[in-house]
Every structure is written in C-alpha cells, then in structure tokens.
Symmetry: C2
C-alpha cells in the first residue's frame, strides 16, 4: 500500500469539499495553507494508541502551527455528552477559539465525537477528518454526519458538520486489527449491496486477496467503496431521500448494539446481522429471491462476519427500534435490498414482519 | 397592548424566515399549515410558570396536533448538557422523531435551551420561537443562535439553528416582572447604542411612559428594537462581521455573570455593567466623548439598571474574559461604541486598558 498515486474526489454538497484518497499523513501540514481561512491553532483529537502509531508522522507536517492533543479513551461509550464536556474544558484550557481547526485522527468513534465537538464548540469550528480505519475511510469520514450516543439510543444527538477535507492515508490500514477490518468490510459490502453490483461481485471473487490485504486490491476496494458514499451524499447531504439507503442494516444493527449495551458486538458485526435481517425481510416481501438472501449471507460468512445471534430476545430488539431516528409518526422506516446492487426505503413493514426477521437471525 | 394590528418582518438569512410582531398565542395553530412540511407532533418546551400563564392560550390553536409538554425549571443553570440529556430522554419517551416541531415558549433561557435541543436532536428538528419576555422578543428569539452553558463559560456549546418562525405576542409583556423588563431594556438600549440613534433618543425622552408600560410606546420600542436585530442578522447570520456588534457589553457582562456563577446578577444587569465598561474603554481610547459616556450611564440609571459593581476583583474578571468566544489567537476582541448609534470591533485593547475599564465600574 505504498503506491505513490493518490486521487481527489469531491463531495458536491451545500459546501463542496475534497476527499483525498491515498495521500500521506506527513503531507497534511503542507495542504493546510490551501484552506480558505488561515490556520493558527490545531486540536488533534485521537486515541493514545493511534497517536503512538501515527501521531509522529502527522506532526511532521505541522511544525508551523500551534498544536494541542486531546486524547480520548477507546470505545463507543466515549461518544457521550460527558466526553464532549471534558473535551470542551480541555480545549478552552489550550486557548482554543473560533478559528481553531479540529483534526479527527482515528476511526469512526473519533470522527463522530471530534466532529460533534467541532460542530458545537463556540457554535462550530473547522474540522478535517483523517480516518485511520477501513470503516472511517470508506464510510464515516465522508458526508458530514457527526453525533454522540444517548442512553436511549445511538447517535441520537448530532449534527451535519461537513469537514474542510477528508485526508486518507491507505498505509494506516496495514496494521489494522482484523476486528476493525471487519467493521469496514461490513459497510463496504453494504455499499456494494445498495448501489454497486460490480463491487459486490468483486467482494465475491477477491475473498482471499482481501483477507491477505493485497495492496492493489485494497486500493480498489477502498476507492470504489468511498466513491459510492461520495456519490450518494453529493445527491442528498441532509438525508431527505436517497441518503437514507445507506442505513441498510443499521436500524436492526443499532437495536442490537443498544440492546447489548455496545458490549460483545462490534459495529461491523451489528451491521452484518442487520444486513441479514433486512435480507430476510426483503425475501419475505418478495423484493429479493431466496437465492439472493443466501448469496448475501454467504458473502458475509466468507469474510468471517456473523449472520446469526442465538439467544437474543426478538421482542426486546423490536422495542429498541422505537427510538430509531428514521421512524416517522410512529411508523418504522426500513431499508431493504431489492436485488443485488439496489435498495429501497420501505415504510410499511409491520412489527410482525420485523419480529419474523429477527427470529430468523436468532435461529440462524 | 391589545391593538389588533400586527406586522411581519423577514430575516433574510441563508434560509429566510418571518418574525411576526404583535400576533396572538391563540393564532399560532392556524399558522402551522403554512409551514413547508406538515406538522404532526409538537413538543412545547417551557417553564411551569409560563405554561400556567400562557399554555392554555397557546393550546387553544393546537387541537389538531399531538402535543407534549417538556417542563424545565427556571434559571440560567438549566442551560446545561445535563438538561439537554434529560429533554432527550423525555422527547424519545413521547415518540418524538425527525418530523417533530419544537416550540420554545418562554424567555431567553428557554429559547437557547429548546433551540439547542432542536438543533442536535436527531441531527436537527424544526423550531418555532414564541418569546414571552422583552429580552426574547427584541433579541434572543431572532437570529438563530442557540446554546447551552459550560462550567468554563457561557454559551460555549451551541449552534446556528434558525427557527421556522418567530411568533411574538405583545400581551405576554403586560405581566412581566420588572427584573425581566430590565433584561430586555438593557438589550434594547444596546441596539439603540450600536445602530439607532433615534431609538436611543426615544429611550431618553420616554422614560416615564416606558416605565409605566404605555402600550403604544412599548409597541414602538419592541418593533424598532427587533428591527435593529433583524436588519443586522440579515446581513451577517453567521457572525463573520457586523453581527459581532451585537456583542457590545457582553464580553464584560458574560465575565461578570460567570464570575458570580449566575447568582445575584441578572443578564440585563450584566449587560448594563458591560455597556458601561465598554463605554469607559471607548472613552479612554477617544472613540466617544466623556459627555457621551455620561449620557449612556444616565440612560441606564434612569431605567434602574446598575452602572457599578463595588467589591468585585478586576483581575478575576479579566481572567474570565479568556474563554470569550470572540477571542482570536489569544487576542481579546471587544465591541466599543463610537458615538451614539454606532459601534466598532476593536482587536487591539490591552489587558491594562480592560483592567482600567473594570476598575471604573468597580469604583462606580
């Protein structure tokens, strides 16, 4: 993954911003003078482990700036109002002001938390997303959605806060633990399932190369999967329509994560289960064939992603879906695959149909 | 204040929205179908005392909607992340979703808190401001700024979340306690001082009528003062320039409020002291004459607003100004009057000059 080529694609939203794919951490500093407003003070928000790995490389380019580090413990539980408050205290202690630039260096949790902090600190400061995980690179760093969790549900408090830029260095993926890779693969497979049948086929035929982290194959996978996200959010930044498709698997997955209190299930595993549940429901409604349901399950299984959750309580999981942000007027809004590479928003799923889908992933 | 005339002025910001002046609470329900998206569920966020006075009148027009009340205790301390979290729990319990409309019924605290809740709940839901105090009617309900406080400073966490509409019923001012009237007068006098010399003169000549709450005089005062705010935020919604002038008196005032932990000083009293401190500083820099400083102090005194704070520690107050959101790169940005009806943004005030201004309001 040390190929020197990099490319820039643009998110064409309310405010246009670039996504740099395959750049290097060291070069970010040299890019900052290209921002419309001058940068003086930088807050890097990250985990200690990520700083140990990449902090030095990133700092190499930032010698001209006043930089402070805000270190956040690992874990989804850190996406909280309490952590937001602590970041605020620390930021003010470092003299952060409205001109401060926040750099989110890390995975999805850091991107969401640092992004939400940037969106509300002094009513909003600038943000650059530097995603270091597969999930963050193909998905969460793109599109401006930021949030923290609430005891009653995931990502319940948040904002749309598009970054100044997304800065993606593929080399950070080389050392990524496989559990983290899984998180990204689940979202990448979801992108393929909703919008790119060719990418779905690529995942089916490149299982071994992807598992062995072949650099060229990964470059293709990350670029193509990011492009699905860029294309969709460029059409619908505020999720009034088509962007909703990206939630495929997530209403089920969030319910499972919340029910398990974010323990014993990763986000990728939740999404994988959620995709399977959505596939079963789509199968029951005739949107996809049973063969396609099996094809989806087989692909997830090939990458070691779970397709069953024995022992869970379907009623409790259904109850957890009440707080989903997509719900409207008490009706549950679900995204269902319609064939491979296409998906639809379904507003008329009954609780019984949803329960039956949960039953199928519980019984496996 | 029961004149049937009402008027509509428009805030011409990123998204245009109307400010209805002199309408009635009962009529809001009949206005809701004019919103671009249908309203089904409404959350009214208010204080119990305000609901006792005006809840019935507002509800009269809302019979066609599903309405829930979220009651918040009184006091600036309620503008907190803790209260935001509690509102979130309660809102989800009532089945609130992305289509929910939040109505902020009350004064500045309710507008800020309910507005910030609306800005982050599920990444943003619709908001209508129904200001019931003079301060909220002439100032805080207009312009989209919402926020909560943080132990380290006032309004440190917030957003720009313009409402769908501002709905102002002058009759709610009839029973307003005089301390609340003072809060609004301080902001109205500030509007006059920065942008409307005619209004400043009106305040000088109408002291008795205003103190006696003459309905016609109040109608003029509220309309003219609101119009200053509408005009300024229409030119600069995001406070990149001219909107900053509205902060005259507030850097000093917020420091005083924070130093006193929001006890024993109202917002209006803080702003009044802040205006006097800014006037002294402007006088020391030659932006206004000493006669003008006296004229400003005399006007505030005539309305019972404080112009001195004996016993405070100037160094501690200076220290509190470090966390001000307007600061840039460690420099304090202050708004100073330049004559009556005009103001400027000053970036070069030294700590010694600021200390001297504090000294003058401390020694009275």
């Amino acid at each position: 993954m040390n190929s020197p080529e990099w490319q820039k694609i643009e998110v064409l939203a309310d405010r246009k911003y670039p996504v740099y794919l395959g750049t290097s951490l060291e070069e970010l500093g040299a890019y900052l003078p290209a921002l419309p407003e001058k940068v003086e003070h930088i807050l890097i928000i990250s985990h200690q482990k990520v700083l140990d790995l990449y902090g030095g490389r990133l700092m190499k380019g930032l010698g001209d700036y006043r930089v402070n580090l805000l270190v956040v413990p690992a874990g989804e539980a850190e996406k909280s109002l309490e952590r937001l408050s602590q970041l605020t205290t620390a930021a003010l202690g470092y003299g952060a002001d409205r001109k401060t630039l926040v750099i989110a260096l890390g995975g999805g949790v850091i991107g969401d938390l640092a992004g939400f902090f940037a969106s509300v600190f002094m009513r909003g400061v600038r943000l650059i997303q530097v995603p270091t995980t597969l999930l963050a690179q193909v998905d969460s760093s793109i599109g401006g959605k930021v949030a923290v969790n609430h005891p009653a549900g995931k990502n319940i408090l948040g904002a749309f806060h598009p970054p100044q830029a997304v800065w993606t260095d593929f080399t950070t993926l080389e050392s990524l633990p496989w559990l983290e890779v899984e998180n990204g693969l689940a979202e990448s497979i979801k992108h393929a399932l909703i919008a790119d049948p060719g990418l779905f086929n690529f995942f089916e035929t490149q299982v071994d190369s992807i598992k062995q982290r072949d650099p060229l194959i990964w470059r293709t996978m990350v670029t193509r999967s990011s492009s699905v996200k860029v294309k969709i959010v460029s059409q619908d930044e505020r999720e009034q329509g088509i962007r909703g498709l990206l939630n495929l698997g997530h209403s089920f997955g969030h319910a499972l994560e919340t029910e398990m209190n974010y323990r014993g299930v990763t986000h990728g595993q939740g999404v994988s289960i959620g995709i399977v549940a959505a596939a079963h429901l789509a199968g029951a409604k005739g949107f996809i064939s049973l063969a396609e349901v099996e094809r989806i399950k087989q692909l997830l299984r090939n990458y070691g992603l779970p397709i069953a959750i024995p022992g869970q309580n379907p009623q409790a999981l259904l109850q957890r879906m009440q707080a989903d942000k997509k719900n409207q007027g008490g009706r549950k809004i679900l995204i269902l695959p319609q064939g491979i590479g296409n998906a639809v928003i379904s507003q008329d799923c009954t609780d019984n149909e949803i329960l039956a889908a949960w039953q199928q992933v519980i019984s496996g």
